[in-house]
Symmetry: none
Subunit: 313 residues, 3 copies
């Protein structure tokens, strides 16, 4: 304790650990903690550490807003009664953004068993508290080696490209930090309903593709979260989720698309073994096209994973 | 991060840190976080670390149940937006109980300012998961010195005496772990309503006297929490809080007293300065007696604090 | 109020009082507590007192399930920081059902001001805990006078007629108690969104028409709550709300209608004065018919209220 507590208080800017017991409300009726609950905890750890960092050298008070979450895999299910330990650290800073890497461990406090359940990478930008439309500069971190810095720079460039692509499809403004965790939790809930309806079994989140946040959600707005199944493989389902924002009391009125994302779900039997998934029936041309696109994403991910395994990662 | 994470994972039994951003719902309308919110986080950290410890050498799976909280002072108010860091460590074990000491720090992530807001001491016993009426043995911890062990033993004997005293007034069975944090939060809420009614100002919890838990609260029971003001000094109010349990669906039916405790509140102006408290009017003999008893508790606490200051603590 | 509280402590079986401070999450952004929050508290008080009563003389453990809520008016808005006092008492029992009358008072604990905000009447039936499809008998209460009993019998017959009418439109099974409060809260939330979209102002619940519950909602089911505006008068809007249940993992599959209800909303300016409502545009034959039906309900309610005022109620 002493060592850990000391190093924490000596360099509080670099890291944070958020821990919490998983309750019945965090899980489905089979006792598996919702992927959305875990995404919400990840985002909370991210916003604490990045807000703390951005205020270090700035005279202007600021708050971190989530701009992007990289693809996240759920490696192992978490259960009611487990303690989730979410630890976050800053791994890269550009002029205007912060990269946060987060690890989630599940601890069974009865047996002492611990296992890694998630690794996630989040990108935040800093918004001025006085004017939330103003992006402020982010203090730089020190790197242990120039290689680490160079790898970070490459990740930064790669995600920037992907964000620009999405930007073409929507305005580039950003969700204020406070809503994002809740929004991701709702997105997972909607995806889970679509998946459960399709296979009538116990389903759990297997992964979430990268999500870019572009649209500010104001207090008093109504958000509508909807989802549709796009693809099924033998053992997994892909669900596309949409978040629309309706600025009920503000101009310009009308709905705007805030976020879209792809969730992948698997179906588990009572022993936690993956069950086969009934194939998605496609009828219209659009459905067939979406199925093919989903298949491509599925095969790409599979190929990347095989490559990583061969590289020994 | 590496260092901190490593030392955490190397000795995971000894300590835990639970961190969370304070939200509007955690606070009163003046933005001060409720004492009850903090008590609930303290209890959660305590139950994690003591349940983890009790299962270390036992073949019988068990869960820690709170038996007693020592007197707790609220040293500094916490606000919405602060990050609360609750860190807990095991400081003593007897054959059947575990002493947990908890520190609560408030961090303003905008300014980087940190301050100690609470120190608390909790006593847990371990109950068998197969039979929650069975108390199981607790593995012993190692002490850095025999002095530390001896001091722990003295604290153990002192709290045991106090618990035996309360035991005479009620049955000695214990609340299951899961309800206690919520119960303490409700107790603080009731005390706060009594205090606000008396002085019509912004009030905050200043301290909670030692609380002993004696009565099991079963799933589906109805608990009734009530409070009355017992004493006022120039700058503080004492409120006595009662928790009664009604086993609606179980025999024996009827209400039973589960917990009583004394909360002390102060009234703050907009700059956070303590305001004078209108004197409590007493009419009946009982009210006068309770006022005198409250006065004695107040003077005793004051004398102890003066002694501690003189000893340099 | 005084009387009610006193009689509560004298005979704890007959009545209950549930009190709670209203928090930011209980209210809209203008600080007005949602009607749904209040309905949920009313239902919680009702389920406690009726479950307690049903277990009094039964050997078979049972739980009370809400069958019907009579029309409820929201007499006065409640605000964040107010303490809501919900008191419930049993006013009639038939062989299989219990009538509960509930009063809600709002107390401003800073000024001491108290006002009645709601009166509600709820009907519960008792379901066996061993077999929730089995309705068990309810112990009879004692009446202060035979007139009171006779008036109760008349209310019982009247609500039975109305329930039979709805029964013809759907199956006569009943929601398990645990979900009903949450369902009513969601219904109010949906109605509120429809109302806010229509007038882009601060809107509050003015009344809810009688609601009958007919369809059991099982654990793991997906409920879909939807709403549409049916009628506008100069100062009020009527919204029809539908609850559909999708037994995702059970047969028979497919959606079933569980509840429908009419909510009336008003729009308030910053001083809490009612604003004029833009008239609802109707185009299709169905919309015109629904508008006429809503107008009839509106005029009926108005006529009843005028009659009550003339009778001195």
């Amino acid at each position: 304790m002493e060592g850990s507590a000391k190093s924490f208080y000596q360099s509080p800017g670099c890291c944070i650990q958020v821990s919490r017991i998983m309750r019945p409300d965090d899980a489905n009726i089979a006792g598996n903690v919702h992927g959305g609950t875990i995404l919400k905890m990840i985002e909370e750890a991210g916003v604490i550490i990045s807000t703390r960092h951005c205020n270090k050298q700035n005279d202007e008070r600021c708050v971190a807003a989530l701009a992007r979450v990289e693809r996240t895999d759920f490696l192992s299910p978490m259960s009611i009664g487990d303690v989730a330990h979410v630890s976050a650290e800053i791994t890269y800073t550009s002029k205007h953004s912060v990269e946060i890497q987060v690890n989630v461990m599940a601890e069974n406090i009865l047996t002492g068993a611990k296992r890694l359940t998630n690794r996630a990478t989040l990108w935040y930008v800093a918004l001025s508290l006085e004017n939330v439309d103003k992006v402020v500069e982010v203090p730089s971190i020190e790197y242990e080696s120039s290689e680490l810095q160079e790898e970070g720079r490459k990740r930064y460039e790669a995600q920037k490209l992907d964000r620009i692509e999405t930007k073409l499809r929507s305005e580039d403004i950003i969700l204020p930090a406070i809503n994002v965790g809740v929004t991701m939790k709702l997105m997972d809930e909607v995806a889970g309903i679509v998946a459960a309806r399709h296979c009538k079994t116990n389903i759990v989140t297997a992964s979430v593709d990268a999500i870019n946040f572009h649209q500010k959600i104001q207090k008093g707005s109504v958000i509508t979260v909807s989802g549709r199944m796009t693809f099924t493989s033998n053992k997994s389902m892909e669900i596309e989720v949409f978040v629309d924002v309706d600025h009920v009391m503000e101009s310009p009125k009308g709905k705007a698309s805030a976020v879209t994302a792809f969730f992948t779900y698997v179906s588990l039997d009572k022993e936690g073994k993956a069950l086969p998934i009934p194939m998605l029936k496609t009828e219209t041309e659009d459905e067939k096209r979406r199925f093919e696109e989903g298949k491509n994403r599925y095969l790409n991910t599979k190929a990347k994973r095989t490559a990583q395994v061969q590289k020994g990662q």
